[in-house]
Symmetry: C2
Subunit: 185 residues, 2 copies
Amino acid sequence: MATAETLFRQRGVAKSSIADIAHELGMSPANVFKHFGSKAVLVDAICDRHISRMIERFTPFDEPLPAPDRLARVACKLMEAHLQDLRDNPFFLEMIFVMSDADLPSGRHYEELVQNLFRDLIRQGVESGVYHCSDCAETSRHVAAAFVSVLHPVFLVNSGEEELLQRCAGIAGLVNAALQNPLEK
Amino acid sequence: MATAETLFRQRGVAKSSIADIAHELGMSPANVFKHFGSKAVLVDAICDRHISRMIERFTPFDEPLPAPDRLARVACKLMEAHLQDLRDNPFFLEMIFVMSDADLPSGRHYEELVQNLFRDLIRQGVESGVYHCSDCAETSRHVAAAFVSVLHPVFLVNSGEEELLQRCAGIAGLVNAALQNPLEK
């Protein structure tokens, strides 16, 4: 995976083959294929590792802030982590585009991790009496979907950071108004 | 534009050149370049025409429904129109991917049209006393951003229709709860 990442970074994903990776490692392509049945599987594994590491940084996030501030803050920090990741690893975006038709498991895994992050934040808000929500798990799926335009790499490339920060704050404002609505069932 | 569309549909966007389009029309490539300075400009013009037509279908949407039902309905109908469009014109998605780095004006124009659609819906809701919102134009930008995961072609391809309908209804539920929050400034 490290060798593949280095090659992807140097040449791009589309121009790096399993044979190239095997050559770098001084082994036969068959040996690489034994572990990763295709380039898609390899890309998926690299994405998944990055994603899990990125989300891990957020799990211990435990500041003594009111739930709405916390949710807005986490969404914004997560977006900034993505921006940093894309700056550090420009080949990431190519991975996502090259593989966009493949519907890789890492994409679903990422969705799940983000949903769980929001679910925990919403639960804490409900427990502290600030949020009103009858099904935190279901609501967190909709909240995660509402943040896609600031958390999906496709949207992070073509927008300026200032515009993204405003959009992220705007969506957080909507989500917080919805979760705090005392009339909401 | 019609000739380009036909070629894009038959061969794909990446494999159709301005020279191919000129050849089909029995004219010189210079003649095509005179009108469309690059393939990106041509793709942009085709996208823009489709987008404008699609949104036009929604402008006269004038059912006597309460604002929240109306907003949910419009979002869902707009999503379904996109799904139909992608089914009828599979080369659309390729256009979007091929051109994703170009940040074409048609993309911004589409954003604006969707924002205006939501802005008018929100204004009607405020006028009828159902929604609370101090800046409808700004709020509509955030609402449009919240719906990106059901209105952007990238997300419409890899998700099942049932999942998309649920997601769209879920986001509409959040947005409606936010806009109806009497505590919201």
